[in-house]
């Protein structure tokens, strides 16, 4: 007889001191489990950087966590769980099951060589899961998201005003991206490589971020604090699972042609045959003075560009503008789609995204891991509790974590790869009991 003993626990802390908080979140989580955890998944806000540091936070976790428990995690802008919604603190989920093999991996230098990082990470996981006999396979990928480029004399800003030639700006950007590793997250490229290596897995991914500045984010792998890295958790199990992305954004009717991009389509140079940023502002009836580094968070999120992801014919969704280099717009993901449109959503739509997602599962989950875009958090503010009320209804007291990131994705062999911004991405697990 097959033993069904899937058990999950969510813990959290609001303590400020990093060491104490690390101990607190580990203790609160682990004490709810009857068996040793198979893994420990950790998300925290960047406040701990100034209250003892992330190393000290992890030291606190390891004061409590049973040795050799696989741990990965990262910094997020906020999180939601069974207890509430938070933009400061830490949360964790731990799972025990006798029918589960787990492996973790990491890869460094994601912004310079995403393929190599993914391969290193994949190798670690493959070695560990080689003998696993379970047929349901899951992979969580946490990847350092886009960070503001370091443009030498031009500084680190969301908008670099035109002043030097476009060619010179792109040279500086290329140096920032490849040498300093400050620029686009390239997380989509990492996941594509992970899919090549694990085509029969179901995946969910999110880009780790800081508390709003877009300067640096951190990833955690056991006792190590990493930057510009991917950390992954692989689960082979007899338990059931599925993943799904929803965004619920609608077209506004403002449509345009993307007429010139860089090679991979991440950077838009021209719209309707004109310099991209000026033309985009004209289409939106926005004055240039309104959009600057100070107003960025209150403006740029509200006119995402709707595009198909890279060469995909099914993954259509919003891509946010990461930063502006002169007239060139650096977006959240690569796209070959020439026909673009401005998308929009209202508060009701944001809530319906949750219903469309969680309502599509026919089973009550045993636990859930959900990656949601930080723009959803920042737009809803304290109304995020409305979202939590809905999620609680679907989970019926079962443990869940929603972590707020930048750049989300899911993949299944049947549904394919979905990479978009401003989305709600669930990974739900259940047993047949």
């Amino acid at each position: 007889m097959v033993k069904k003993d899937l058990e999950a626990a969510v813990g959290m802390t609001r303590k400020w001191n990093a060491r104490e908080a690390g101990r607190d979140v580990a203790r609160n989580t682990i004490k709810q489990l009857k068996s040793l955890p198979k893994f420990f998944l950790l998300f925290l806000t960047t406040h701990y950087k100034d209250h003892g540091g992330f190393e000290e936070f992890l030291n606190g976790v390891w004061d409590v966590l049973p040795k050799a428990t696989p741990l990965i995690g990262g910094t997020v802008r906020g999180f939601m769980n069974n207890y509430g919604c938070y933009t400061r603190g830490a949360t964790a989920i731990a799972v025990s099951s006798s029918e589960m093999d787990v492996a973790i991996g990491f890869g460094k230098n994601t912004k310079r060589s995403p393929k190599n990082a993914a391969q290193h990470c994949s190798k670690m996981i493959k070695e560990k899961l080689e003998k696993s006999k379970y047929s349901n396979k899951f992979l969580l990928n946490l990847i350092s998201a886009s960070e503001l480029p370091e443009m030498q004399s031009l500084g680190r800003r969301k908008i670099i005003e035109p002043g030097i030639t476009p060619k010179a700006i792109m040279k500086l950007y290329s140096f920032s991206q490849k040498v300093l590793q400050k620029g686009a997250g390239r997380d989509d490229e990492i996941i594509e490589e992970m899919i090549k290596n694990f085509p029969d897995f179901q995946m969910i991914g999110g880009g780790t971020i800081d508390n709003g500045e877009g300067i640096i984010s951190y990833q955690f792998f056991n006792k190590d604090v990493l930057t510009n890295s991917v950390v992954s958790l692989a689960i082979n199990t007899n338990n059931n699972l599925d993943v799904l992305t929803t965004h619920n954004m609608k077209k506004t009717g403002k449509e345009f042609n993307i007429t010139k991009t860089n090679k991979d389509g991440r950077i838009i140079h021209e719209i309707n045959g004109k310099p991209a940023f000026t033309e985009l502002l004209r289409l939106l009836d926005l004055s240039r003075e309104l959009i600057n580094d100070d107003t960025w968070l209150q403006t740029s999120f509200y006119f995402p560009i709707g595009s198909y992801y890279y060469n995909s014919k099914s993954s259509f969704g919003p891509r946010v503008i990461g930063f502006v280099l002169g007239e060139s717009i650096v977006t959240g993901f690569r796209s070959k789609d020439k026909n673009a449109s401005i998308l929009t959503i209202d508060g009701r739509g944001l809530l319906e995204t949750i219903d469309k997602n969680l309502g599509s599962y026919s089973k009550t989950p045993s636990f859930g891991i959900i990656a949601s875009c930080t723009t959803r958090l920042e737009t809803m503010g304290d109304k995020l509790y409305y979202a939590r009320d809905r999620i609680l209804k679907y989970f019926n007291d079962k443990p869940f974590i929603v972590f707020y990131v930048g750049g989300e994705s899911t993949y299944t062999p049947e549904k394919g790869f979905t990479y978009i911004n401003m989305s709600f991405n669930s990974a739900l697990f259940w047993d047949d009991n």
Binding site: C85, Y86, L297, M380, G381
Partner: protein, 134 residues
């Protein structure tokens, strides 16, 4: 640690970078205020005018809180003042933040602070009822 658990909640809120000042207040009266030396000095320079504007808002809160008024805010120069009203009372949790702060993130923690303070208020009320009935 202070004697007043509500002051502890406010102290916690004040540790966030963009909370320049915070308090629990009502019309013409500040009920609980954390250590003022921790308030942003630039806010303190404008305190008199902010306080006068706050009292005007509290007039509205007093009028409409029973009708379900839950939140108010105003912008004054480079600052925004947020009011999270405690249901059915004339009291509100007040925070002063930079006008261009990431308000969504702050709003989540304001709501948490409001819930924590409400919890403390309810517990205190329960305790008082017990004492009276004993």
């Amino acid at each position: 640690m202070q004697d007043d658990p509500i002051a502890d909640v406010l102290d916690d809120l004040l540790k966030l970078d963009d909370i320049l000042a915070c308090m629990v207040a009502r019309f013409n009266m500040i009920s609980v205020m954390p250590d003022q030396s921790k308030f942003n000095p630039q806010v303190m320079e404008l305190w008199d005018i902010i306080k006068r504007a706050m009292d005007d808002v509290f007039g509205v809160i007093r009028e409409y809180s029973q009708a379900g008024l839950a939140e108010m805010e105003f912008r004054l120069q480079d600052y925004e003042v947020l009011f999270y009203v405690f249901p059915d009372t004339e009291n509100a949790l007040v925070a002063i933040i930079p006008a261009l702060a990431n308000k969504g993130l702050i709003a989540v923690e304001m709501e948490n602070a409001r819930r924590d303070i409400l919890d403390i208020m309810n517990k205190t009320e329960d305790l008082q009822k017990k004492v009276i009935t004993q």
